[in-house]
């Protein structure tokens, strides 16, 4: 597939933050889109005291990594679609290899490695800056495509939320 075939190609560059700006919880956590491209995305969650599992240890709670990996996986799926449809996470499995390092931002990278008519398959990892080959968590997840096919106007609403311009 060529880059011009991707429905959200116009968000692969400077406008990449708009990929998640309509998602309240992503905005709430201060998530930023560091990179977006064909079938992949890189997101960041800035470190914050309220995300900790135990205040004394300074380590982020595992569930926050769930949110990061679910979000980056979903963003990678959106960045894989030729025709924009709504998506819903079917399942995800996360391995926590070690605790995150206190005080450092969390980065999440996801690759949608297979897209069928109904299901998208994603691999993702969570790591610290400059340590993509030494992740502290890894995830495999699947997403259902066209999750609300019966709802009229879903694609229109999606296009509106992503502010896709149709020529």
């Amino acid at each position: 597939m060529r880059e011009q075939d991707f429905a959200l190609r116009e968000f692969f560059g400077e406008r990449r933050q708009e990929l998640i700006s309509h998602i309240p919880h992503a905005v709430e956590l201060g998530m930023t889109v560091e990179k977006a491209g064909p079938c992949q995305a890189l997101l960041r969650i800035p470190q914050g005291a309220r995300l900790l599992g135990a205040a004394s240890r300074g380590v982020v709670f595992g569930g926050v990594i769930t949110t990061l990996l679910d979000q980056v996986g979903g963003t990678a799926v959106m960045c894989s679609q030729r025709e924009l449809t709504s998506i819903a996470t079917i399942d995800m499995r996360i391995d926590y290899m070690r605790p995150s390092t206190p005080g450092r931002d969390l980065l999440g990278h996801a690759q949608c490695y297979r897209l069928t008519r109904n299901v998208a398959f994603v691999k993702s990892r969570a790591f610290h800056e400059g340590e993509i080959d030494d992740p502290f968590a890894i995830s495999l997840s699947t997403y259902m495509l066209a999750s609300n096919p019966a709802t009229p106007g879903v694609v229109k609403a999606l296009e509106a939320s992503y502010r896709v311009k149709r020529s």
Binding site: H22, I23, P24, H25, A26, E28, A49, R50, L51, L52, G53, A54, A55, V60, F61, G62, G63, V64, T66, T67, L68, L69, D70, Q71, G74, A88, T89, I90, D91, M92, R93, I94, D95, Y96, P99, V154, A157, S161
Partner: protein, 136 residues
Amino acid sequence: MKVARSTSDLAAVAAQIPYAVYLDLRVELDDEGVLAHLPFRQDLVGNAGLPALHGGVVGAFLELTALFQLLASARDARNPKPINFNVNFLRSAGAAECLARARVVKHGKRIANVEVVAWQGDRAKPVASGFGNFLL
């Protein structure tokens, strides 16, 4: 973390977890075990159109419920660390409180396996299920 033998023990542990405080997680202990409550909040939404809670928040809620059930079931004071966690998203979790219960399937010497189910209103219609392995 210490062993939680009562609702007030659980509340004391929850108060030590900043992320649980942020989610406004409520936990109580009854004859069946831990019952966890996650109040709905607009800033926890993932899909504003439906609206539906963010999948990551639902996953985190399951993980917290599993952890609290483990603390309530522990024979001695340990600090369980998640090794892995699996979440099945069964229905979108709408603008209402989420409830969850967990069951310790196997409580080994070093590893515990815990199952969790979350629902809204009707327990027969779960919004998510999950299981995880914890290092004790």
